[in-house]
């Protein structure tokens, strides 16, 4: 049978695609260690000069701080809203549920550059000055639906009779939520938090129109790609990627522990 051969072909194809996916990220990392200002391959002299310059730059420091502030606030607000949103999505039977499940997807199925512009218009129409704080709100419009889906998958997997048992034992609704629902949903909420932070961290199209005079890392990188390339561009890009990777790794390990504890 050709079963083995098919499986080998699938493995090969998947690994090939994965290599292609990470190739540009590796190219960026290479370019950031190039000593001369303009990129040429093979690299003649390697240096960490541009990494040092990036780390020393006060301007970049501020931009990183803006990016982190936005991502943190987005994470906190999104997860709270999305946890309830996910319960409405997957746990409770209620009249408008089917419609709600579909409407909540619309922002995901909407081109982000157009959404960003629409929000700029909206802020403008009601006279709100755009800054990094308006970007928090803009990110949430896209991230809350994503996080709701992520948490909803966990909600589907949980057994409602546990909650009912707690009610039967005379628990109040807040007690049930705090002692039963929340602990069972923790792994999903944790994944949702990681998604929220990292998606906000890497977002470009929404930030572009809604940060006003402030700037995030992806925005700064884009501005420099268009005009004024230095190896600081790939250096900061690589740093942002490494930051995301470390967070995902640490978060993934904690998530694994949470899941193990939830299963026990």
């Amino acid at each position: 049978m050709g079963h083995k051969r098919t499986n080998a072909a699938i493995w090969t194809w998947t690994l090939f695609v994965l290599v292609a996916i990470y190739l540009p990220i590796v190219c960026g990392a290479l370019a950031s260690f190039n000593k001369s200002r303009y990129f040429g391959f093979p690299i003649k002299t390697y240096s960490t000069e541009w990494w040092q310059k990036t780390l020393d730059s006060i301007e970049i420091g501020m931009i990183v701080k803006t990016s982190i502030s936005i991502a943190l606030l987005v994470t906190v607000f999104s997860v709270v809203i999305a946890t309830f949103g996910a319960l409405a999505f997957a746990r409770y039977e209620w009249k408008g549920r089917k419609l709600y499940q579909k409407l909540i997807l619309l922002p995901i199925f909407f081109p982000q550059p157009v959404l960003g512009l629409a929000m700029l218009l909206g802020f403008n129409a009601v006279g709100i000055q755009t800054s990094w704080m308006t970007a928090v709100f803009a990110h949430m419009i896209w991230i809350v639906p994503v996080v709701t889906l992520v948490i909803a998958i966990q909600v589907y997997g949980f057994d409602p009779s546990l909650e009912e048992a707690a009610y039967d034992l005379g628990c109040s609704r807040t007690q049930v939520f705090r002692e039963v629902t929340l602990p069972l949903l923790w792994p999903g909420i944790w994944s949702g938090m990681l998604f929220a932070f990292l998606l906000s961290w890497s977002n470009f199209p929404l930030s572009l129109y809604t940060t006003g005079a402030d700037s995030t890392i992806p925005e700064w990188l884009y501005a420099k790609m268009v005009a004024g390339y230095t190896p600081m561009v790939p250096a900061l890009g690589t740093m942002a990627t490494l930051g995301a990777a470390c967070l995902l790794l640490a978060g993934g390990l904690i998530g694994l522990l949470l899941r193990r504890r939830a299963a026990a």
Partner: protein
Amino acid sequence: MADLAIAPPRQEAAPEGAAQLRHARMLSVGARCALPVALLLGIGFLAPLVAIFGYAFATPRSFDVFTSFTLANFATLFDTTNTVWLSFFWSCGLALLTVAILAVVAYPIAYGLNLVFGRWSALISVFFVFPLFVSENVRLYGWVLFFIKNGVLDGTLKWLGLAGGPEVLYSPGITLFGMVYTYLPFMLFPMTLGLALVPRDLVDAARDLGAGRLFIWREIELPLAMPGILIGMLLTFVLAIGATAEAKILGGQSIIVISHDIEIAFTYSQNWPLGSALAVLVTFFIGALTLFALSKLDLDRMLGRR
């Protein structure tokens, strides 16, 4: 234990009444849980769309939203000499090609994630998710560094004593490549969910009855996995219609896509009403497509595997 002793009598008094009460309470609890999300999206998603709609009917090159009413912006767009139609066809064409290519690229991987990779599945999924957390600018610029003259590809080939790499940058083809690259996860994950819906015993039964592999794929696997595949296709199509970064960074503006036209109207030509009118058209196109496709899907079954 004291709690246990006190609680039951209350329930025993009217077991059916309590169940009904709980059911009624669940109805309202569900709606109440949905409230924060509904409020957020009402203010943050619906209201801006209303604003765009208002601007679309405002006097061209003005900021008189909701105070003037004219169809001049739409008249400008529907003028056949307007280049937005060319942009629209580029966007649609590229989006369709992206969907077609991605369906072929992602299918074997989605199949593998479900049936071949076994315990490696989770790790491989993470590797496919991670690029979403790297700004698309960074990833696309990496491809520029790869394909550019004296870049990684060209430099390596020359170093090997060959003629050097082909000049592919700043063309429609590389724009398409960039889109396929960026939107792979959006095709892959819904497709994986879709393939997970196919009951394996059904496939086994068909095989036992002597069905060929092609027959099984066409008659069982594909139709049953269709909801997921359709969501993936819809998602990639819609995102690709709105894509600008690929055409700007890799395509070097060799073609102008529709969202880029909208951006130009808003920024460079400072004609918000015209940009809004165009955005309204794109929104209607995408909205109609999305709502039509979503109305055909059962999300509980897809996500909850019930």
